[in-house]
């Protein structure tokens, strides 16, 4: 077993708003191995983006990483706990964009609007690598070529608004890859794109990953995208990872009722016209008003009355490696469950 690249345990990111606390990320455990693609899936508001931002310590105020560890195995062999670093300190800044880079959903807001693509990329390169302006420019051209940008020399002089959506996304990927990070965090990078462009960008990320051997933490709500690129998957619900498994197990042997519900509610190509989709009833609860016990119980079809609304399930590791937070899968409780249900 290789050493993991990133190990997150018990991570909590909370937002204090007027006396109350929103627990956006509430005790997340996650492992990313070198070269692996981990998909983080969940509906809007489940905390997946805040989770990603916590890793780079770019949580917007009043949010704060309040507990847990984010252990990054650095290139030098040193292990740093990112959660313990000063978010404005030198060490985290030497990691951001260098060892861990991020791409965002909306390239138009993530890229600087008044700086050319070229100067944004060369700035990033010069910040982290000791190279001359000219050398940085050559590297920028090289990385733009690599992401499939036509005529990269001319595009260096282009501003983001002069590019189409797909090209802008390529420019942002080029910016993220400019210092050859070991981990790329991709926060819904294809959500705003057309399916045809999405397919091309996914191919690109996959090829670049194979070529550069970097790990990818891919955040999405689209299970189709997950099936296309993931090695392993973590499903989030209300700030927690409720199920973590290899991609094949998620799609063919899902354990958590929420994962199963999500899979049943996606329209698949090949479905017959008029065929009914299953849905998960209700909606994601308001984070101010979190249900007691298992936070999924009000929407769960397999809810055990008297137990799921009281007991907060702990993380259970099943023999095949799947980790799940659900009372149905807690071994010692499984035996007592029928008795409990009869009461």
């Amino acid at each position: 077993m290789t050493q993991p690249l990133l190990e997150i345990s018990g991570l909590k990111t909370h937002f204090g708003v007027g006396g109350t606390t929103i627990r956006a990320v509430d005790g997340v455990d996650l492992v990313v191995n070198p070269g692996e693609t981990v998909c983080l899936v969940g509906e809007s508001g489940c905390g997946k983006s805040m989770m990603a931002r916590s890793i780079l310590r770019i949580v917007p105020p009043p949010g704060q990483v309040t507990a847990g560890q984010i252990n990054l195995h650095r290139q030098s062999g040193k292990v740093v706990d990112l959660a313990a670093l000063d978010p404005k300190g030198a060490e985290i800044r030497s990691i951001r964009g260098r060892e861990v880079a991020m791409i965002f959903q909306e390239p138009m807001t993530a890229l600087g609007p008044v700086q050319t693509i070229g100067s944004q990329i060369t700035d990033a390169i010069q910040l982290h690598l000791k190279v001359s302006r000219k050398e940085a420019r050559n590297q920028a051209i090289e990385v733009l070529t690599r992401v499939g940008m036509p005529r990269p020399e001319q595009r260096l002089e282009a501003y983001p608004f002069q590019l189409s959506g797909g090209m802008r996304q390529r420019a942002m990927i080029a910016l993220a890859l400019s210092c050859q990070p070991r981990l790329l965090i991709a926060d819904e990078p294809t959500t705003a794109l057309d399916v045809t462009t999405q397919a091309v960008i996914l191919d690109l990320i996959r090829d670049l990953q194979a070529e550069m051997g970097m790990a990818v933490l891919f955040i999405t709500h689209d299970l189709g995208v997950v099936a296309e690129i993931a090695d392993s998957v973590a499903v989030m619900y209300l700030g927690r990872v409720v199920e973590r498994a290899a991609v094949d197990d998620i799609f063919h042997n899902a354990r958590h009722p929420y994962t199963r519900g999500l899979l049943r509610s996606i329209p698949r190509l090949g479905i017959r016209v008029g065929e009914e989709l299953d849905t998960i009833e209700g909606m994601v609860p308001n984070p101010f008003n979190r249900p007691s016990g298992c936070s999924f119980h009000p929407r769960c079809v397999e809810m055990i009355p008297g137990r799921c609304d009281r007991v907060d399930p702990s993380r259970t590791r099943l023999p095949d490696g799947t980790e799940v937070r659900c009372l149905l899968h807690e071994p010692h409780r499984q035996e007592t469950a029928p008795a409990g249900a009869l009461q």
Binding site: E43, D194, A199, D203, G224, E228, F251, R268, V273, L277
Partner: protein
Amino acid sequence: MTLVAKQGIRRSGSSDRRTPIYTVEGLRVHFPITRGVMRRIVGQVKAVDDISFIVYRGETLGLVGESGCGKTTTGRALLRIVEPTGGRITYTPPDGDPINVRTAGRDELKAVRRAARMVFQDPNSSLNPRLPVGEIIGEGLHYHGIARGAEIEDRVADMLRRVGLRPEYIRRYPHAFSGGERQRIGIARALAVNPNFVICDEAVSALDVSVQAQILRLLRELKDEFDLTYLFVGHDLAVIQHICDRVAVMYAGKLVEIGPTQSIFATPRHPYTEALLSAVPRPDPRVRGTGERVRLAGEVADVSNLPSGCAFHPRCRYATERCKTETPQLRPVGEQMVACHFADSLTLKGVGSYAA
């Protein structure tokens, strides 16, 4: 009219399906590009360029394509939210004479806009944040003189119940609702005045999957309950396949293919349709890497500067010299209508080839 007549006999459902509700012939929506202080016209953006189709009573017709292909503009032109620059749009009420929408006067247009309604993509920007839900839904009732005073409130409460919201919410403002609930409000507003035709413009695109499935189910239930006809504009082909009886595919302002959903998805006849279908991610890791994927190179054609001949030719892997010079016309091939010179000879891949 010949083209439209040909489409008319394609549907083999109940005879009811063959009654047109909306007939579109040669629709054009061009926007001028102006320059300088004199607003000199230097070009045209051909957002919608000469498209013809019929929506039959009781069916759901899907309109798909990439962003910028003109699908939303087409939907809006049907209600004259954007003014068409050419062509004919005819609305046929269930009982009464056909109305020429393009030349309709104020009263006629008002009648059309009562019978044909719209549900918008973004439930955040399509609801007035300063109006309580009761007024948002009730406004149409008042404007069309359907109800007055307390009766409006009763009908709004009833409408809220039908879309799955609690009638007590009538005095709340849109910000107090989640995305899925807001979309329900948008649907209630569209249906409050008892329309018979609804244009759903990307009505589920902004929603999470679990909520999306709920809204799709609601739309289907309401269709049966109110005997509606839908024009469903969207880009998610899996959703389209799920809800539509027929599908029309648009590229760069033109219709490239139209036909029954099953046959379009199983045997697409236009290379663009094939590419669109191939790009949809398949939600099963076991089929990853199987089957040949068609990838489109380049960008969607610029509608202010269209390529010569077939607008799709620069991205088409089957393109020949003929495609660069000669514009293909929509013509019947099998069960579909296709605008491609080689529709008869090409063997294209549909989704049947990878669906489990």
